[in-house]
Symmetry: C2
Subunit: 207 residues, 2 copies
Amino acid sequence: MLDAPNVDRQSRRREQTRREILDAAWDVARSAGLTGLTLRDVASRVGMRAPSLYSHFDSKHAIYDAMFGEAWTAYEEIKLAEESRLTDDLRECAHLIARTFFDFAVADPPRYQLMNQRVIPGFEPSPENYAPAVRVLAAAQVIAAERGLRDPDDLVLLLAVIGGLIDQQIANDPGGDRFARMLPRAVDMWADGVGLPRTTTTEKDTR
Amino acid sequence: MLDAPNVDRQSRRREQTRREILDAAWDVARSAGLTGLTLRDVASRVGMRAPSLYSHFDSKHAIYDAMFGEAWTAYEEIKLAEESRLTDDLRECAHLIARTFFDFAVADPPRYQLMNQRVIPGFEPSPENYAPAVRVLAAAQVIAAERGLRDPDDLVLLLAVIGGLIDQQIANDPGGDRFARMLPRAVDMWADGVGLPRTTTTEKDTR
DNA sequence: GTCTATACACCGATAGAC
DNA sequence: GTCTATCGGTGTATAGAC
């Protein structure tokens, strides 16, 4: 039997090193692009040589995989924190969720690329790290269904609309807000299209 | 002075070699992914060594650049051929244009990635090869305006909706039609949202 | 277990012979 | 115009120091 505190300390240390590596990987991705990430860059940022990373990750794809899981987990946490602010009105909820997701995506384009586009040749997320993505979508489906949305495809459509605007914003107006400004209209169009009643309050987000 | 026919023959030969290289590049991109393209792969497909490509293109990015222009030009030609089938009804036109663009995109995901997403670190299309993309959008704006669409942003919104569905289709159901089937509903939602009259004919595309 | 050193095959790009 | 040779870079595997 191993000494429990020792095991704990070691595995905690290990976990911490993984954290540092992943943080460095995010840094590199943000400055060199997602596919511009290199192991040597990542390693040098944590004071290692590239091969040393293999003590903590099986391959470069394994790093991408962990990043994929982290990205969706980060968004999941934001969404959970946001749930307390959700009302019974689905249209309002859609506005809130759309804005949150849009801002989350645009704040870190490489992260969005990793989450929602197939950019890295040969990379597919492992089931383990794909799980948070599935959970987020399932939770959104529940929220929508509880508020009267019948067809699950309707939610998919909303996500497609938001995703389309995110794409345009990142590709054609990075750093700007040309497409961000169109988000409320897009959400209202969707809400009208799926038959949600018009909200009467003037609180609607039109920034 | 150079012999004119000779110049012609030489420059035609040169142009043909460029064509072969670009065709090979498309082949490689389709089989290895857009960012998985390598000069050695391209060269071997045209019976050359990699450095020889530099006699025809300044860099790998220059090849991407030419491909970018080709992709938008190809779509521009499809759109021009399609114009004869356009009616006066903007909703109908939107359905047709959406379907055409969706099919065009899904038929060749790396091409779509190159056209509409910023996937290659450091690559930005040259003004020359960006031009067809601008022309296509401008032509679409004219078509929409002629049929009564007032706000140019409304067309951008339609393109975002279509793009969002394309993303989902490519990333989450490649080869399938889960999101393709949602396209007509999405277009109708948009048409309703911008105040277009409902088409009364039963000819509507619901496949 | 953790890391380094070394090595390999591959990459984009350049120089220079032919 | 195309080749060979080569450069500095990449991901990755492995042997071995600690």
